[in-house]
C-alpha cells in the first residue's frame, strides 16, 4: 500500500483517483509461483497475464482396509485433507498510469520463478519495453497484436459459457447471453481500436484480415477532442450520451419534410451527418456534436461490418476494441446500426472478457509448450471481477471498493470437458431452467435465499474443520467474499453471464474453495453413508419381497424419498439439523401421493414392461440415503433386467453430493454384500464415471470427455437425472436424443409455488423423443 501511495504524489497532475484501494496482493494473486508472463498494453489500459499454480486443500477419501479386523473402525472410510496443486491463469487489467507501481510490486513478490521472457502485445508494448525489461529483468518478446486477439477470442469462446452477449438497451435485462455453441467457427471479429480491423476467423489457426476502416475509436476521440475541447475518451462518451444529434445531423425529414416513403426511409434517419453544421453562424453544443459523431462512427462501422459479413456469408459478428469495451453507449449504437443495416438478420455480439483477449492470446503464445489448448478451463467466479466491474456508470459501489482494477481468473480443469453426445441440439441447449438475469422476481428471491443461507454455510464450514483454530477467521472471510458477490450480482446480475441458481451455487463453491473449505460436508456425508449402508441389505430384501409391479413403484419412491435427504435445501437442512433420526421411512411418508405434480409414471411402467434398455446413464445426486437406499436398488433392478448402468457423479465436492471417489468406495462396499452389484462390476456392466463437474447442478454441455466416450461406446439409450439441482434448476427442459427420466422432489416452497405445487411435490418426467416413440410392431413384442 505504501508503494502505491508514493505514485499518487508523482502523478498528481492527473484528475483520476490513483489510489489502489485493494491491497495489491489481492490483485496480483499467487505471484510466488507465477510464470509465463504476458502483457498487453493498450492506449489507456494494461492487461497483465500470468500462469500460476495454486496450492489448496482438497478432501480425499480413502477406504480402510476392511480385511484386517483391527483396522476396522466404526468409520466407513478415511477422510484426509491434502494439499493439491492446481493451475490457474490470472489476468489483471489496470490503467496505464499504474504500470510502474505494478511492475515494482510484481518484482518484489516474484520469488521462485525461472521465467526469462515476457510476451508483449498491444500498441503500447514498445513504449514500455525498456521499463518492463528494467523493472522485471525479463526480456520483452513482442507478439503480433491481431494474432493474440484472435487466439484470445477463440479461447474465451471455447472455455467460458455465456461469454458472448447481445446488448439491448431498453430490454428488462440489457445483456442477453448467448448459449455456447460448441462450434465457434467461423465468425467475424470487428475490432474497433483507433481504427477498425475486420477479421474473418475460420479455425483455431486460420484467420484473415478481410478489411477495415480508418474511421474508428481514434476518429471519435481525435475529432471529438477537436470539436468539443474535451480530452478524455470517457468524457466524450458521457457528453455524447447527453446530446441530441438531430440538431447537428441533417435527417431525411429535414430534406423531405417527412419520410422518403418510396424507399422506405423514415424521417428520423440521418441523411447527412453534420449536415446542419455547414454554416458559420450557428453554435452547436458539445453534447450534440459528440452524439452526432458517435452516431456517425457507429453507423459507419456497423455498415461496413454488415457489408463484409454479407460478402463472406457470416452471421456471427463479434465487436471488440476500446471503442466498445464496457461502454453501454457504444454497444447500443453499434447494435442499432447492425439491426438497421441487416434488418435484424445479424446480431451484434459482444464479449464479456473482450478487454483481455490480447493478453490471453499473448499468454497462450508464450505457453504453447504447456499446451493450454489441450485443457478445459473454467472461469473462477471467486477470483474474477465480472462484467462492468470498473464501469462507474454501472456500479459506483464497485469502483469505490476496487479502484480501477479488474481481474479474471481461470482454473485449469482436471478433465477436458465436452458435450453429452445425447443432446438433441447442442447449439440450442440451455442448461438453466430460469434465467435470473431476465426474471427479476425470481432473482430477488434467490439472492435473498442465498444470503439467508449464508450463516448456515459459514457455521458448517467452521464445523468441518474443528482441528483448525483459524477456521473461524477464514470462514468469516468467506462470508464477506460471498456476500460481496451477492451484492455485486444484485447490482449487476449479468456480471458472470446469465445469473442462475447454478451460477449462485457455483460461485459459493468457488468462494469456499478460495478460503480452503474444500468439502464442508465431508464428515456429514461420511456419517450418512455409514448409516445408510447398514440399512442397505434390509432395504433390498424388502424390495425383493414385492411383486414386480409393486417393486417398480417402490423403487421409484425410494429414489424420490432418498432425494429428500439433501442438506443443500434449506427446508430439509432445518429438519435434519434438529432431528438426525429423520429416517428413510419418514421421508417416504412426506412424499406427495400420486398423481404427482409432474407424473409420467404410468408411461415409465409401461416402458419397463418392454425390452430392457441397452445402457442407462444415471446422474446421481446426494450421498447417504439417497445414493445407497434410493439409487442403488434402482440400479440393481436395471442390472437385473440386463441394462448396463453408467453412474455419473461429481468429480469434486459440492454440498452433500456424492463424489466419484466416495462412490467408488460405497459401490465396493455394496458389492461386498450384494451379488448383483458385484456381478455388475465384475462383468463391467456397472461403470462409475466422473461428470467433470463440482457443481450441485449439471451442465450437459460441459462433461468429462471420458464420460462422453463411455456413453457413446455403450450405446446409451436412457439418461436418468436425479435431484432438484440437476433435474429442475437445470435440465428441466433439456431435450435428449434418447429416452430420459428426470426425478426430483421439490424441497423449496418458493420453487414449488412457481411450478404450481407445494413443498415435497414430486417431479417424475419420463420423455421419449419423437423419433424414438415405440412403433406398433414394437408394442406387439412386449410380454
Amino acid at each position: 500500500m505504501a508503494e502505491c501511495g508514493r505514485v499518487d504524489s508523482h502523478t498528481s497532475g492527473h484528475t483520476m483517483d490513483k489510489s489502489i484501494t485493494l491491497p495489491p496482493d489481492e490483485i496480483f494473486r499467487n505471484l510466488e509461483n507465477a510464470k509465463r508472463f504476458a502483457i498487453d498494453i493498450g492506449g489507456s489500459l494494461t492487461k497483465l497475464a500470468y500462469y500460476s499454480t495454486v496450492q489448496h486443500k482438497v478432501a480425499k477419501v480413502r477406504s480402510f482396509d476392511h480385511t484386517t479386523k483391527e483396522a476396522a473402525s466404526d468409520k466407513l472410510y478415511e477422510i484426509s485433507v491434502q494439499e493439491e496443486v492446481t493451475a490457474r491463469l490470472h489476468f489483471i487489467k489496470f490503467e496505464n498510469a499504474y504500470i510502474e507501481t505494478c511492475l515494482d510490486f510484481i518484482k518484489d513478490h516474484l520469488v521462485n520463478t525461472d521465467t526469462k521472457v515476457i510476451k508483449a502485445t498491444g500498441g503500447g508494448a514498445h513504449k514500455f519495453k525498456e521499463l518492463i525489461e528494467r523493472k522485471l529483468g525479463l526480456k520483452v518478446d513482442k507478439e503480433d497484436e491481431m494474432t493474440c486477439l484472435i487466439k484470445g477470442c477463440n479461447f474465451v469462446l471455447k472455455n467460458i459459457p455465456h461469454e458472448a452477449f447481445v446488448y439491448a438497451k431498453h430490454a428488462d435485462s440489457e445483456f442477453r447471453f448467448q448459449t455456447a455453441n460448441p462450434d465457434i467457427f467461423p465468425y467475424l471479429l470487428v475490432n474497433i481500436g483507433s481504427g477498425v480491423s475486420i477479421v474473418k476467423v475460420e479455425s483455431e489457426d486460420k484467420f484473415e484480415r478481410i478489411g477495415g476502416s480508418s474511421i474508428g475509436g481514434g476518429t471519435f476521440w481525435g475529432l471529438g477532442a477537436l470539436l468539443t475541447k474535451t480530452k478524455r475518451f470517457d468524457e466524450l462518451l458521457q457528453l455524447a450520451s447527453k446530446g441530441q444529434h438531430t440538431s447537428v445531423d441533417m435527417l431525411v425529414k429535414d430534406i423531405y419534410g417527412g419520410s422518403y416513403a418510396y424507399l422506405g426511409l423514415t424521417g428520423d434517419l440521418i441523411a447527412s451527418s453534420f449536415g446542419k453544421s455547414a454554416t458559420a453562424d450557428k453554435e452547436f453544443s458539445k453534447e450534440d456534436m459528440a452524439k452526432s459523431l458517435l452516431h456517425m462512427i457507429s453507423n459507419d462501422i456497423g455498415q461496413l461490418a454488415c457489408l463484409y459479413a454479407k460478402l463472406h456469408n457470416l452471421s456471427r459478428v463479434y465487436f471488440g476494441g476500446f471503442f466498445i469495451r464496457g461502454h453501454p453507449v457504444t454497444m447500443h449504437t453499434i447494435t442499432y446500426s447492425i439491426n438497421f443495416f441487416t434488418k435484424g438478420e445479424v446480431q451484434a455480439l459482444f464479449l464479456r472478457h473482450e478487454g483481455y483477449l490480447g493478453a490471453i492470446g499473448a499468454f497462450l503464445k508464450g505457453a504453447e509448450e504447456d499446451n493450454p489448448n489441450q485443457y478445459s478451463w473454467g472461469e473462477n467466479y471467486a477470483g474474477s471481477s465480472g462484467l462492468m466491474s470498473v464501469s462507474p456508470d454501472m456500479n459506483p459501489m464497485q469502483r469505490a471498493r476496487s479502484g480501477t482494477f479488474d481481474m479474471l481468473e481461470m482454473d485449469r480443469l482436471e478433465r477436458q470437458l465436452v458435450n453429452l453426445p445425447l443432446l438433441q441440439d447442442p447449439s440450442s441447449y440451455i442448461p438453466d431452467t430460469v434465467d435470473l438475469t431476465e426474471d427479476a422476481l425470481a432473482r430477488e428471491y434467490w439472492l435473498y435465499c442465498f444470503e439467508e443461507a449464508l450463516d448456515g454455510v459459514v457455521k458448517r464450514a467452521i464445523a468441518s474443520q474443528p482441528e483448525m483454530p483459524e477456521a473461524a477467521a477464514r470462514a468469516e472471510k468467506f462470508r464477506q467474499k460471498y456476500r460481496h458477490k451477492l451484492q455485486t450480482l444484485r447490482q449487476q446480475p449479468f456480471a458472470y453471464g446469465s445469473l442462475t441458481v447454478r451460477s449462485l451455487l457455483d460461485t459459493r463453491e468457488h468462494c469456499l474453495n478460495e478460503f480452503n473449505f474444500p468439502d464442508p460436508y465431508s464428515k456429514i456425508k461420511q456419517r450418512e453413508n455409514d448409516v445408510a449402508l447398514r440399512y442397505y441389505q434390509k432395504a433390498v430384501r424388502s424390495l425383493e419381497e414385492l411383486s414386480w409391479e409393486e417393486r417398480q413403484f417402490a423403487l421409484v419412491r425410494g429414489v424420490l424419498a432418498g432425494n429428500v435427504f439433501d442438506w443443500g435445501a434449506k427446508a430439509v437442512s432445518d429438519v435434519l439439523e434438529s432431528d438426525p433420526e429423520f429416517g428413510f421411512e419418514e421421508a417416504k411418508r412426506q412424499l406427495e401421493v400420486r398423481p404427482w405434480l409432474v407424473d409420467s409414471y404410468d408411461q415409465w411402467l409401461e416402458r419397463q414392461k418392454g425390452p430392457p434398455h441397452k445402457c442407462a446413464l444415471f446422474f446421481v445426486d446426494n450421498s447417504g440415503v439417497d445414493i445407497i437406499l434410493g439409487v442403488m436398488p434402482f440400479v440393481r433392478e436395471l442390472l437385473s433386467r440386463g441394462t448396463e448402468v453408467v453412474l455419473a457423479s461429481n468429480s469434486g465436492p459440492a454440498l452433500n453430493d456424492v463424489t466419484n471417489s466416495e462412490l467408488q468406495i460405497l459401490t465396493e462396499r455394496i458389492a461386498a454384500m450384494d451379488p448383483v452389484i458385484q456381478a455388475g462390476l465384475r462383468e463391467d456392466r456397472l461403470t462409475l464415471v466422473q461428470s467433470g463437474s463440482s457443481s450441485p447442478c449439471l451442465d450437459l454441455s460441459r462433461l468429462d470427455k471420458v464420460l462422453a466416450m463411455v456413453v457413446r461406446e455403450r450405446q446409451t439409450d436412457l439418461v436418468i437425472i436425479e435431484g432438484m439441482g440437476r433435474a429442475i434448476h437445470t435440465n428441466y427442459y433439456a431435450m435428449l436424443s434418447c429416452e430420459s427420466l428426470k426425478m426430483a422432489v421439490i424441497k423449496n416452497s418458493w420453487l414449488a409455488d412457481r411450478l404450481g405445487g407445494k413443498l415435497f411435490s414430486v417431479v417424475f418426467k419420463y420423455e421419449v423423443p419423437p423419433d424414438k416413440q415405440p412403433s406398433p410392431d414394437c408394442a406387439a413384442l412386449t410380454p
Binding site: 477532442a225 451527418s273 453544421s277 454554416t279 461496413l304
Partner: protein
C-alpha cells in the same frame, strides 16, 4: 427537317420494357441529325433495330411533328432537383423560335429567358455553370441550349419570391421537381408562388438524367471520364471514357448524403445502400473545425493542407508496412487518430484539418462503394453528385482507392455534369412523361 428518327416515339412504350442498352443511349430524345453524325453509334446499334428504324422512317415524319407539337408542353422548360444543400435547376432555352412564335410569346416568358441566359449569377448565391451548358440540343423537336443553374436550398424562399415577382404562375407551366425538397417545400411553392409542383422520385430522375446526358454529349468534351494511372500521382491524367454497354453499373450519388444504386437497365435499378457520411458531412465538419462557411472555401483549404499530420497512418503505429495483413505504411490506420494527442492537436493547421476531413469522407465512400461493388458483382462505378464539383482531389482519391484496393478490378468513372442529373431527369419527365 428530315426527322428520320422520329418514328421512335411510336415504339416508345415497347422501348420502355425491352430496350437493350444501345437503344437506350440513342433514345427518343436524341436529335436525329445528331444521331446520323455518329457513325460509331450507328454501327454499334443492333442490326435488327436499325432495319426497323428505316422501315418506318420518313413516311410518318410530318404527322409525328404535328402530334409532337400538340403533346409538347408550353415553355418554359425547367427541371428542378431540390436537395438537402443545393437546388439544381436545368433550363432549356429554345434557339429556334420563329418570328411568329416570338410575337405570340408573352412578356413574362421572354423576361425569364432573358434573365436566366444573360446572367451567370443570380442574387448572392445563384450560379449558372456556363462551362456545363449544352448547346444546339434538340429536345422534343425544338433546338436550343440547356443551362445548368444552382443555388443553396436555404435560399429557396428568395427563389420563390422571384418566381412570384415574375408572375411565373401565369405561364401555366408544370414545374417538374425532384429531390426531398420537392416534398418538403411543395406547399411553399403553392402558397408563396402559386406554383403546383409535379413531384418525382430522385433516383428515377437521377438515372434517367445520367443515361440521357451520356447519350447526347458525345462531341467535344466527353461526358464520362476516368483517371489513368490513378496509383501514380505523376502520371495520373484524366481520360475520356465511352460508356457503351453501361450495364450493370454502380451509381454513387454523393450529395449531402450518399446513395449507392445498382443499375441493371434503364428501368431496373435498386438502391443498394447509402451513407450519411457525404458532402454535407465534409462541409459540416469543415465549418466546425475551421470556421469556413462555403464548400469552395473548404476545398481551397483542403488543397493546401496535409492530412498525414491529422491522421494516424499504419507506419505511425508499426513503423512501416503491417506486412502480416498487407497494409502499406502510408494507409490511414485511424482518421483523426493523431488528434487524440494534445500536442498534435495544437500543431495542426486549419488546412490540415480540412484536408483530413476531405480524405476521411472520400475514402469512406470509396470503401463502402467497393464493398457494394463486390457484393453486387459489378465492376464499373460511376460517381456523381455535387460533392465532386471542382473536387479533383476527391475524384483522384476515389479513382485511386477503387484501383488499389480492388487490385485493378474496379474502375471509377466520373461525369462532367456531376450534380445535375436529377434535374435533367425531372426535365425529361416534363417532356416525356413516363
Amino acid at each position: 427537317m428530315a426527322f428520320n428518327g422520329h418514328q421512335r416515339e411510336d415504339d416508345n412504350s415497347i422501348d420502355e420494357d425491352e430496350t437493350p442498352s444501345k437503344q437506350l443511349r440513342s433514345n427518343n430524345e436524341t436529335p436525329p441529325g445528331h444521331f446520323r453524325n455518329e457513325p460509331n453509334n450507328e454501327a454499334a446499334a443492333p442490326a435488327g433495330r436499325a432495319t426497323s428504324d428505316r422501315r418506318t422512317s420518313n413516311s410518318t415524319t410530318r404527322h409525328r411533328h404535328d402530334s409532337m407539337k400538340k403533346t409538347r408542353p408550353p415553355f418554359p422548360w425547367f427541371g428542378m432537383d431540390i436537395g438537402g444543400t443545393l437546388v439544381k435547376l436545368v433550363y432549356f432555352e429554345p434557339k429556334d423560335i420563329t418570328a411568329e412564335e416570338e410575337q405570340e410569346e408573352v412578356e413574362n416568358l421572354k423576361s425569364i429567358r432573358r434573365y436566366l441566359t444573360s446572367n451567370t449569377a443570380y442574387g448572392k448565391t445563384g450560379i449558372r455553370d456556363v462551362h456545363l451548358e449544352l448547346q444546339d440540343l434538340t429536345l422534343c423537336g425544338r433546338t436550343g441550349n440547356l443551362h445548368f443553374i444552382r443555388f443553396p436550398t436555404h435560399d429557396l424562399p428568395a427563389f420563390l419570391q422571384m418566381g412570384r415577382n415574375k408572375h411565373f404562375s401565369s405561364l401555366h407551366t408544370t414545374l417538374c421537381a425532384t429531390g426531398g425538397g420537392a416534398y418538403k417545400f411543395e406547399s411553399d411553392f403553392r402558397t408563396m408562388a402559386d406554383l403546383q409542383l409535379h413531384k418525382l422520385d430522385e433516383l428515377d430522375c437521377l438515372i434517367r438524367g445520367v443515361l440521357y446526358i451520356d447519350s447526347v454529349v458525345s462531341s467535344g468534351l466527353s461526358e464520362c471520364y476516368y483517371f489513368e494511372n490513378p496509383t501514380d500521382p505523376d502520371r495520373c491524367i484524366q481520360k475520356p471514357y465511352t460508356l457503351e454497354n453501361p450495364y450493370p453499373l454502380l451509381l454513387v450519388n454523393i450529395g449531402s448524403g450518399v446513395s449507392i444504386l445498382a443499375v441493371y437497365s434503364k428501368n431496373n435499378y435498386k438502391r443498394v445502400t447509402g451513407t450519411s457520411l457525404g458532402g454535407g458531412t465534409f462541409l459540416g465538419l469543415c465549418c466546425l473545425l475551421t470556421g469556413c462557411s462555403t464548400f469552395e472555401e473548404a476545398l481551397e483549404m483542403a488543397s493546401q493542407g496535409e492530412s498525414t499530420r491529422v491522421d494516424k497512418l499504419v507506419r505511425d503505429i508499426y513503423g512501416g508496412d503491417y506486412e502480416r495483413f498487407g497494409l502499406p505504411g502510408w494507409a490511414v490506420a485511424s482518421s483523426f487518430g493523431n488528434m487524440m494527442s494534445k500536442e498534435k492537436r495544437e500543431s495542426v493547421s486549419k488546412e490540415d484539418l480540412a484536408r483530413a476531413t476531405l480524405v476521411t469522407i472520400t475514402n469512406n465512400i470509396g470503401s463502402i462503394t467497393r464493398m457494394c461493388a463486390l457484393n453486387e458483382n459489378i465492376e464499373r462505378v460511376v460517381f456523381v453528385g455535387n460533392f465532386l464539383r471542382v473536387n479533383t482531389l476527391s475524384m483522384k482519391l476515389l479513382a485511386y482507392a477503387m484501383e488499389y484496393w480492388s487490385k485493378g478490378q474496379l474502375k471509377a468513372l466520373f461525369l462532367r455534369h456531376e450534380g445535375y442529373f436529377g434535374a435533367v431527369g425531372a426535365l425529361l419527365e416534363l417532356l416525356h412523361p413516363s
